[in-house]
Amino acid sequence: MTLPFTHVDWAAVAPLEVLAATGLLVLLFDLVWRPFAPRGLSLSVAFLGTILTAALIAQQYGTNVAAFNGGYIVGNFSVLFGEVVLLGTLGALALMGRGGSDRESAGTIALLLWSACGALLLAAAATTMTIFLGIELLSLALYCLCGLANRKSAREAALKYLLLSSTASAVLLFGMALLFGASGSVSLAALASPAMVTNPLFWMGSGFFLVGIAFKLSLVPFHAWAPDVYQGAPLPIAAFMTVVTKAATIAIFARFAYAALPAGASQMLLLPVWAIAGISMIVGNVGMLAQHDLKRLLGYSGIAQVGYILAALAGTTRLGLRYAFFYLVVYAVMNLGAFAVAAVLSSGDDEEGTQIQSYRGLGARRPLLAAAMTFFLLALAGLPPTAGFLGKILILAVAAGTGYLWLAALLLVGTAISLYAYAKIILAMYRPDHRVHAADIPRGAPLPWVSLALCLVATVALTFYPLLPSGLLPLVK
């Protein structure tokens, strides 16, 4: 018996292998050298491995390989989304270097890397099977990661995420089963057949499939887990989830929406998604208004931001995908930046520093940090000169171009509300009468600072040198 897969197939997944192996190496090194270099070593290995993976993926740019019988398709699409995933991973790793207890740090890092493997898999997955595999790999690791802090809230977040996400996975899986029943193939390519338009199984399967996707994207009404989990999870993990999970899931959604739908059915089929994307923009932003915890607030913010990204995809145009990707990158950068500021300010596992109350008077005590935080919040709101501004205008342009004006209108309303919410934090930082409340704030570890600075530079640079890759169209075969 010969293996059905060739050298080409394995070469295509080489980056995943490297990343997975890095996770193993981290554990191994930790086992051997733990007494000497508790955390720095694990982090260094993880950084090196991730950067190596990123380099390997970058090498695949411009190639076009359908590995594993079309289950894993390497192309510009997978490369670019993979890089975003790794960007998020690096950002999360950087936040891990913020001090606190060393307990289980190697395990955490390893799990994080493996979770990122799942996300990388999703970026390239083109069959329902690989998609399921990727989602589960991503999620299973995250269930653990969420609970890896010695806090009641962290454990609760893990439980909630576990129960709800598993349910959603089951729905997704059931949808996949129905899609399989409709087309007789696990390949997404098979769904693009015109015969599917009249197939009830296809419609029901797509519905369940999209519910699963919408849950991962935390779109309303499948969003309820997100604020709780982001608040409860350790800070680096929350950052990871906001960026990596979203990037990977959007990759899947884009592949499904752009390449796997029969012509003529796609707009009607995806209409519910656009609708809940629109609702998410409002609910997410409104939800921010009454929050007292930064991580929770950013969770709500994420709900709305995903809505923006989907608004770019509405109409499923080539340009839309480019701008969705651009906004995704921008969101990743500014979100990581905000988390980096929070990481500098919070120390230890209890993460009291993420309470908005503790930001009071920051403007006077730590002007640089306060300025950075303000910058990222304004970026999230879409004020210039941040890339959030350019991203929004591009999304508006696409929405105007494709005729989804109502999405554009909801985006405008949502953005206005969001500024209200972000301004509240800024207000807390700069209000003169809050100056006295400023508690003693730790200096913070260097890594989050570096991350913060890089994010800041990137957020500005992306405005003036927007990263708008062409040839991003996802393939299924």
Partner: protein, 474 residues
């Protein structure tokens, strides 16, 4: 050099925010030098044109900078106001204030020299930030910062939308200051109102003005001077270079609506100014009234009215800045702005009283000062466009203006000396120099307004666009 023009104040301002120490003379000195340097640069770069590519899709956008006819005078006004405002800074923490003022100047400079709609939109939102922070840190109530940012940001969002839609429709946003970019179509009304509402918020005009009295009252006087004098003109400038140039049919079609809004603003601001007890609020509401007149002028599209509008934009900037700075001196001396308490300043501060007098007279449109020429030419244009009833309302507002200006000015300057208020010395040389250029400019433009008047009638480009270096088609 154009790039340097924008970057100089921004870099200087940012650096100032990051530095330490509160040496008032040092920072004031740097600020004045930077502001004057921008003035020199602007004059030197008046005919320059600089461009670099930005976006290729979904529409072409470039970093395209150049100084238009009207923009030039706005820049001169801006640099002058900034220099004076910086010089008038009187704070225990001057560093950040001067820094924010320079940032404000830089962002507004960027706005005025943008030749690309997207770049314009960028600066349009960006210039909110320094003011927001000043309000936040030094305003009288955080609520004012809220109100300011929410209203203006909402306007900015509409501008954003309109810009995006314009870009999609037209294929390029590199259109400011060049002819032949007028668009038409079923969508254009939406785009037009997107721009128009954004500009009306900024100006502000009824009913989008309620952020303004609080903001002006709350801001420290130097910043209030720059915001009231120049930032409020961003919307009007936008009307000139965007709404009028790119959507001439729409502005003609909706001129009635704009005229009605302008007329309501005109009267509304005037009667509200009559009964304010806060000196700065009088100026704020008067601003609503005066800028309403410019909105009307723009809506009529009459060349004479536009010429007058250009002059009045500059004149209003000058006397608003002078008044805010002057009232700042009063507040600093007497520790109150309440007209119920202030009186008799003139007895001990004749120079301050004189400065306030000239600024106030310019505001009420005294013949011979710049404000008068603007009003006269604008209303002449309004009559020429056939809106005689509007002109009647406009002249009524002139009478009301004399009433509220005198109420303000006499309330502060005249009357018996208020013995319950502290007696301070008259204007120092520095304070005098900070306000004198504005007053001299008012006098000069009142006699010889030719150059500025001309800029209004040529603001709408008719000549073909000069080819810009570095621009490639997608």
């Amino acid at each position: 050099m154009l790039l340097a023009l924008v970057l100089l104040p921004i870099i200087a301002g940012s650096a100032m925010l990051l530095l330490r120490g509160e040496d008032r003379r040092l920072y004031r000195g740097i600020g004045v030098v930077v502001a004057l340097a921008t003035l020199v640069l602007a004059v030197a770069a008046r005919s320059e044109d600089w461009s670099a590519p930005w976006l290729r899709a979904p529409f072409v956008a470039n970093f395209h900078l150049g100084i238009g006819a009207l923009a030039f005078w706005l820049i001169v006004l801006l640099a002058l106001c900034t220099a004076c405002a910086v010089l008038a800074v009187e704070s225990a923490r001057p560093r950040a204030l001067v820094g924010q003022l320079l940032l404000l100047e830089g962002t507004m400079l960027g706005l005025f020299i943008s030749r690309d709609l997207l770049l314009f939109a960028l600066f349009y939102d960006l210039m909110l930030v320094p003011v927001f922070f000043v309000l936040l840190e030094r305003g009288e109530h955080p609520r004012d910062a809220w109100r300011y940012i929410i209203y203006n940001f909402a306007g900015g969002l509409l501008l954003l939308f309109a810009t995006a839609a314009f870009g999609v429709l037209h294929g390029t946003t590199d259109v400011i200051g060049s002819a032949g970019n007028a668009i038409s179509g079923a969508w254009v009304p939406w785009i037009f109102w997107g721009f128009a509402i954004a500009f009306l918020v900024k100006t502000p005009a009824f009913p989008l003005h309620t952020w303004m009295p609080n903001t002006y009252a709350s801001l420290p006087p130097p910043v209030a001077a720059v915001v009231g004098a120049v930032q409020s003109k961003a919307g009007l400038y936008g009307f000139f270079v965007i709404a009028m140039t790119l959507m001439p049919q729409e502005i003609a079609r909706y001129s009635t609506a704009l005229i009605v809004l302008g007329t309501i603003s005109l009267l509304y601001g005037a009667v509200a100014a009559l009964v304010q007890t806060d000196a700065k609020r009088v100026v704020a509401y008067s601003s609503l009234s005066h800028l309403g007149l410019i909105v009307i002028a723009i809506a009529t599209q009459q060349p004479l009215a536009l010429a007058g509008a250009a002059l009045y934009i500059v004149a209003h900037g000058l006397f608003t800045a002078a008044l805010f700075i002057g009232l700042g001196y009063v507040e600093e001396r007497e520790e109150t702005r309440s007209l119920a308490r202030l009186r008799g300043i003139g007895a001990n501060n004749p120079r301050l009283a004189g400065a306030l007098t000239i600024a106030g007279l310019a505001m009420l449109g005294l013949p011979g000062l710049a404000g008068f020429v603007g009003e006269l030419v604008i209303i002449t244009g309004i009559v020429q466009s056939g809106n005689v009833a509007v002109a009647v309302v406009a002249v009524i507002s002139v009478v009301l203006a004399s009433a509220y200006v005198l109420r303000l000015f006499q309330g502060i300057v005249n009357g018996p000396v208020a013995h319950d208020l502290p007696v301070r010395r008259d204007l120092t040389w520095r304070e005098g120099i900070a306000i004198a250029p504005l007053l001299l400019a008012l006098l000069y433009l009142g006699v010889n307004p030719h150059a500025v008047l001309a800029s209004g009638s040529v603001a709408i480009p008719r000549a073909p666009q000069s080819s810009a270096a570095g621009v490639t088609t997608p």
